[in-house]
Symmetry: C2
Subunit: 407 residues, 2 copies
């Protein structure tokens, strides 16, 4: 008998039939003797519908009022799922954020969970009642309703699992786990049985959007075993765990990629202290987010400074850079939007120096030129021409033997 | 400067434009220096939509879960109106039932208000903030969301006005006041400037569905001056007051009518104690609601027993009566669905015995036969053939001089 927190997203709550399907799934766990606490999102599309309605009336209205409206989305699905569980012969009781209660700070629309009181939910579990909790929402000390921001239901699930000391937090989505890379790019991509939190963070931030990144951080911090599974397809999913890989485990867990970035380079920048701040300060001031930053050692008293921004921010970044370059007496500004980033991720590479050269060799053999390189402890990223993206992903997937499961 | 509670119904909240119209209306009162607390219903149709959704999943689900879902309807409109007030430069803050809080008993779907804590709302008013409160809902001692049942938003408005000791409770609807009778039947029907609570109760229960009857009882009990006005048409509306009519006031306030009833008569019933209970008991057990009951004094040891039920219950009532008549050894059962009830209502008739004869004379002069008569302190009702309904209403409206305002 295990205590499991299960989180079902908006797609899983998208229709009467799907809600009934989820109820049957939960009933199966109860029949096997598990205790289950369920967290749900609003029906897919509902949060957008409510936001649109509120904005139509007042595009710049109080965040408190937006949260009050948005929170109704989950209030409907918790009750619908509780009603569906009743038809399966399972006792259930719905809880809004304030009914649990889930205490948050007062940062409306992007609130952070401060404290969860698990007593009522525990009492239900002991009585064989399934608590169905609204994700994405909480309550301030003053009694106002807050929302955790987009995708926050995952965070609710993990935070509840931590507060309840649950054996596992299961996140049900429309994919059946975390893959070695995007199967749409490499059909040989393989579902991973497990992955570490650190690898998951790198894969998530690099574009494998299976889980909301904050929930993974949260799970890592509170040591909550997290499992990603499909609502609609049975299977073990992928377990995200604290355990380090063992010797026999693969060095590389997956290949992540991102086509949304653009590159900006300031050439011939005078090499003196404070130059990086002088270049990046104005970009940050303009609310342009920066991803990779690369600066090589200087030669002849000047250096080249390169960074990447979202493609949508390219024109604005270019304008700022041209102004800055003139002020700093740099040689010029170049850039491109036709780039892509490919990364290999794996905790195993920490102890294996050869991964980088293996990666660069494989790309070279495929005739792919590397424009930029950036590394972290468990990840190596390269920027290449966008047209080579699919080829690069497939080449690396094969080079690191990801299509075959480890023995 | 007055403290006013204003209640706006589902039609007034029916679209973005209408919500903006209400906001402008409230802003007008604030500009004149009044303090306003607003109570709103869900958008028209929303409660039905949510009920349908819940019933599709579980037609016999927990009332607690139905309430949890239904309460979202007003949670959306309170925030939308608060947002709309902000665009008018008026500070506003939305409150669900539990945020006020409005304490109720635990009778889900038909809860009764037990206690309202007006402190937060008063504090807002003192700061120039307009509290926008969700009608129709409250919270139990255990923290579950309740609803007051259909039309309960009027009751919320009156209860809030009582708790806040407001100067007036204004109920905004799609009619501009209470009329001497239905203007669709008698175009000369006139809006009443004021009416007593008792008259309003008789008019409401007899089919002038302007206000929910429970809210009128409530307002009478707590001596809250109640005013019915139109959201869409300016005007003073009708004030519902505790004051008794004075000598110069009219004897009759209005003509009410109802075409939804059917008549059932058991003839030749043995005249002995307990006979009424023997007849009506099985009808009540079958959940058939009874309106008028008439039994005349017995002659020859037997009596005729007549009552009216809703037309939808006629067939079922007839079946039960045929069985009962046989058991009791009654002569037979007759009935008709082609009847209508017409009533004259007015506190003035208490001290004037002549009203009944004036009424019967007027109907006789128009050739209308009376099938049944029933009277209370401030009302005389007759049942006639349905085809004569409009003629009877116009005849009585004229006979009591209702088309002209009292001097």
């Amino acid at each position: 008998m295990a205590l499991i927190v299960q989180k079902y997203g908006g797609t899983s709550m998208g229709s009467v039939e799907r809600i009934q399907h989820v109820a049957a799934k939960v009933a199966g766990f109860i029949a096997r003797g598990d205790q289950v606490v369920v967290v749900v999102s609003a029906m897919s599309g509902e949060t957008d519908r409510l936001t649109k309605l509120a904005k139509e009336i007042n595009p710049r209205g109080s965040a408190r009022e937006f949260d009050q409206i948005l929170a109704t989305g989950e209030q409907v699905t918790i009750s619908l799922l509780a009603l569906a569980l009743e038809t399966q012969g399972v006792k259930a009781r719905s809880y809004t954020g304030w009914q649990v209660p889930i205490h948050t700070d007062a940062a409306h629309r992007k609130a952070r969970i401060q404290k969860i009181d698990p007593e009522r939910l525990m009492a239900d579990c002991r009585l064989g009642i399934v608590p169905v909790v609204a994700g994405f929402q909480g309550i301030t000390g003053e009694g106002s309703v807050t929302t955790l921001g987009r995708g926050g239901s995952d965070t609710t699930g993990v935070a509840l699992a931590a507060a309840l000391k649950a054996d596992e937090c299961q996140i049900y989505t429309d994919v059946d786990g975390v893959y070695t890379t995007d199967p749409r790019v490499e059909p040989k991509a393989r579902r991973l049985d497990k992955i570490t939190f650190e690898e998951m963070l790198e894969l998530a931030s690099l574009g494998s959007k299976v889980l909301q990144i904050r929930s993974v951080e949260f799970a890592g911090k509170y040591k909550v075993p997290l499992r990603v599974l499909s609502t609609f397809k049975d299977g073990p999913g992928t377990l995200i765990t604290l355990e380090e890989n063992h010797v026999e485990d693969p060095l590389i867990s997956g290949i992540a990629f991102n086509r949304d970035e653009a590159q900006l380079t300031v050439t011939g920048v005078p090499d003196r202290p404070g130059i990086a701040a002088a270049i990046l300060g104005p970009v940050g001031d303009a609310n342009v987010e920066i991803d990779m930053i690369v600066q090589n050692v200087a030669a002849d008293g000047t250096t080249d400074f390169t960074f990447t921004v979202h493609k949508n921010d390219y024109e604005r970044g270019l304008e700022i850079m041209q102004r800055i370059a003139a002020e700093l007496g740099a040689k010029g500004v170049t850039g491109s939007t036709e780039i892509a980033k490919v990364s290999v991720v794996g905790v195993g590479m920490r102890s294996h120096a050869g991964i980088a050269s293996q990666m660069f060799k494989a790309l070279a053999a495929a005739g792919i030129n590397i424009r930029m390189i950036s590394t972290s402890e468990i990840k190596i990223s390269v920027v290449i021409e966008e047209m080579y993206l699919e080829l690069a992903v497939r080449t690396l997937h094969k080079a690191f033997g990801l299509e075959t499961a480890p023995v």
